[in-house]
Structures are given as C-alpha cells and as structure tokens.
Subunit: 286 residues, 2 copies
C-alpha cells in the first residue's frame, strides 16, 4: 500500500487568527471530502507571516505543542481519519519559541514534532527575532504509505537538510512555506526568485530520489505578496501538480514505491563518497 | 579584475585519439582567437567515452599526469596564454587509473589536479571497471578572476561535492561530462534525463551562489547518443549560455564578483546548521 492521496492547502491570511483557523478547518474538510489522505498546511498556518515585521505582539499568539490549537487539529484529524501536517508558532517555555510543525495521524496522535533548523533574517523575513534554531534534528515518521519528513521554508535552500531526511528513510519531504515578493522587487526579480525556489526543491527530489511537496501561502501581508505556486514533484524532479497564485487545494496522487524504482536507475546512494565529506561540518574551510 | 571570458568546447569523438587531439587543438586555438581566457574541455577529452563498454584495450591509451599528452596541452596553454581545463584518463601506476583533470595556467603550469570522486557503474557507463575513486579531495585554484574548482560528470548529481568546493572558496565550478541516451531509452526519458541533469547543476549554482559550467560531448559512440547542451549558469541558477546538440564553442562572460553580491541577498552560508549535519558522513542511518 504505497499509493497515497496528498493535498496541499494554499490560502491567504483572512485578518484574524480565529477566522484563519476556521477557514483552514473548512478547507481541510473539503480536501478530505475530495479524497485526501495526507493534508499539508502552510508555514505558521493560523497566523499572518510574522517575519514580515519585528513586532513583540506576535509572541502572544504562540501555542504549546500540547495546547488548545494542536488539540483542536488533532480532534479534526481523528474525526476525518486523515494525516495532517500542522506548521505553527510554538512556545516551548517562557521566552522560548520555535517555528515548528507536528504530524497528526488518522487517530489524532502526534507522531512527529519538528522545529525549523535554518532560520532566516532578511528584509521582510525577520525570523531570527522570533525563533530559536530547531533542536529536534530531522525526524521522519512511518505512515501507511511510506516514510514522511517535514522541513520548513528556509530549510528548502539547504541540500544538507533534504539529504539527512533521505538518509533517515524519508520518501516524501514536505516544505510548508511563506515566500513572496517585497514591494521593492521587480517582476523580473520575482520571476527569478520563483524559478530558483522551484528549482532548488526539485533538485532535492532528484538528488535524493524522493517526492517533494511545497506549500506556500498567497495574498498580500505588510507589503509582501506571497506567490503561492505550491507544487508536488516526483522522485526525479518532475512536476506532478502545481497551484496558481490564488487560494487552492492542490491534490496529487503519489506512489511512494517509485522511490526505490528511481533509485535503481539513478543509484546515487551507492556512490556517495562519505570518506570525503568532512568539510560539510565546517562553516568555511579557509 | 573579476570579469572572465569562458569557453566550453563541445565536440564528437572523430574516431582516433590522434585526430581527436588535433581536432581539440584546432578548436582551442579558435576559442582563444575568439577571446576566451579560460577554456574547458569535455570529460576524457582525447578518447572515446570508454565507459560505454568494458574493454581492456582502453587502458593502453591512458596518460601520466606529467606525460606527453599533458605536456602538449601545457605548451599550447602557454603559447596561447590561456587557462585550460583538461580532463583525461590518468595512469598513476601499474594498474592504477583515474578519471582525472588538470588545470593549466597561462604559463603552461599545472596548478590543479583532480581525480573524479564519484564513479558510476551502470548500463553504458562502466566506469568502476576503469577508474579507482578519486583521492585528491576537492581542490580549488586561484585564477586572476577568482577561485576555480573542477568536478567531473557523475559528481554533478551529488550536492555534497559542489558544497565542499564552495566551502573551499570556489566561485566557478566546471563539470566536464559525457552523458547521453542509450538506444533503449525513449525520447520522453531522454528529455526527462536532460531536464534533471540541467536542474541539478543549476541547483548547485543556487545553493552555493557560484557560477557553474557543464561541458558535454556530442555524437554517437557504441550506441550512446551524447546530447551536448553544454551550458553556463550564473550564481542564482540563471542560464547564461547554452549549446545545442552539435559541435560548438560555447562562450560566456562571467563576472565572478557577482558571487558575493548574490550571497548578500541569499545568505545561505550564514545559516548552515553545521551542528546538525553529522548524518551526512554516513552511508545510511537506519
């Protein structure tokens, strides 16, 4: 049983956390009704993209991993008998916050907890202000269809992260994301950024022989236009499904047994020169 | 002085090693005459692609790194005052062979010696029969324009190799290559393979903020159709120049100072989580 029906929920922040959670619940119900077995939400799903500005007020909206928000989503995943990837603003203790995600199984059990390892701090993306770097490694979880791993947004630019997940057996890597264009950027820059964003994630599929799904928000927040274009790629980088720039439930059917098929044709894991990779553990080698 | 005129020489094997060397010399002279300052040849430039078949006879055509072939190319690089990347079948000792490359500077000095680290062994690509795995690490060399590193063909599928070169300061990574389609493959497969091949190399440019140049042969040998399409990509993965499927001298002008510009916008090296990458040194983690 390796064939899995995946849905990515891409939407805009509707102006309040309450309405955002309600809106997501409606979309999750719709996706499940359309047959989805695994549903992936976008980064910090219930909130605006907090990194757009430095604003202490956002800390008040964080949730504990066993708090009311995750309990609510857990009840929903159990009710609908779906697997749900829920990215959220986690408060772990007084003054300790992470950009995190949990995977809830079809019984509503929390079966994976990930904290974003690579944290950006750039114009419009002030995440080092909010989030400590992740400290839970790169977990994977067994699903009925195969092994699933979660990475979040900025992680997607680092080949190391996808490789570590693949080495731990991941056959499907999902990337909840919030990426868009600033008002200062031209259409040409936006097109170049979008192309690079899709290319680097397709390359993780190719290098590792895994399925990749990226889930990006849409809409305009604090001057940033989130560009959507959520997509799913197969284990040789081919695009299986791609969303536009508006709200959308993106469905794809994945046969995770293709991972082994592709790796027989392109046996990269046989040939990695692990005896030569020690410099990867350094910041810089000069 | 960071602006460099690069040329990639893409051609077919003309049927004998003597005629192949002569043909390359003509093309190198032409490229230099057209203004190239750095010229990159394709993998195993003077030979047929030996990996197509297992044939003991090919060992007799290997060259020592200080032998006649490299001396001849060295004299040429000095005469033309060009930098030359020469990939060749190296014999290091009795029964010890590598898929190697040297860089010759504009004085004809050998300033870099690389031995291919990742060796394929697949239908039509029987390189483990011929070549020991590389044992010279991932060297880089200072040129008047910036730092240059060389990787060879199968290396291109491994993000680790490009990353190590970048960590050692490489601003331009060149990939001499011999990749093509077998007679058993459909046009659809060939298109998918070509797309993945270009995508993974563009992704190394993106992940590392480096220029990438891939140089692939053309023509049909032992049933394999080498697809050419040599290309040069900028440090955010954009295609700067691309060849077709016939013999061609592909020129591109590179400003290696763009590497630092791009890395200010996309500061991936700041955020690598080197404390989490230890699993990269393992074959598999389960």
């Amino acid at each position: 049983m390796s064939i899995c029906s995946l849905a990515c929920i891409q939407c805009a922040y509707p102006g309040s956390i309450t309405s955002s959670v309600e809106h997501h619940i409606r979309l999750i119900r719709a996706a499940a009704n359309e047959g989805a077995q695994v549903i992936v939400l976008q980064e910090l799903f219930q909130q605006p993209y907090v990194g757009a500005r430095v604003d202490e007020a956002h800390f008040s909206d964080a949730s504990a991993v066993d708090g009311a928000l995750i309990q609510q989503m857990s009840a929903l995943s159990k009710e609908l008998a779906i697997w749900l990837v829920v990215p959220f603003f986690e408060q772990a203790g007084p003054g300790v916050y992470y950009n995190a995600a949990v995977v809830l199984d079809d019984q509503g059990e929390r079966v994976l907890h990930y904290r974003k390892n690579h944290i950006p701090e750039d114009p419009g993306f002030h995440e080092k202000y909010y989030f400590a770097p992740g400290d839970l490694g790169y977990p994977v979880v067994d699903t009925p269809w195969g092994k699933l791993g979660v990475l979040i947004c900025w992680d997607q630019w680092f080949p190391e992260a996808a490789r570590v997940l693949a080495l731990q057996g991941a056959q499907l890597v999902v990337y909840p994301t919030a990426i868009g264009s600033l008002e200062t950027e031209s259409k040409t820059e936006m097109a170049a950024f979008h192309d690079a964003w899709q290319t680097i994630q397709r390359s993780h599929a190719i290098a590792n022989g895994v399925f990749v799904a990226a889930v990006n928000r849409v809409g305009v927040e604090s001057g940033t236009t989130f560009w959507g274009h959520s997509f799913v790629a197969g284990p040789f980088g081919e695009i299986l499904a791609e969303a536009g720039e508006k709200e959308e439930i993106l469905h794809a059917t994945l046969d995770l047994s293709e991972v082994e098929t592709v790796r027989k044709t392109w046996p990269f894991f046989r040939d990695r020169r692990i005896d030569t990779y020690a410099p990867l553990l350094k910041r810089w080698t000069q």
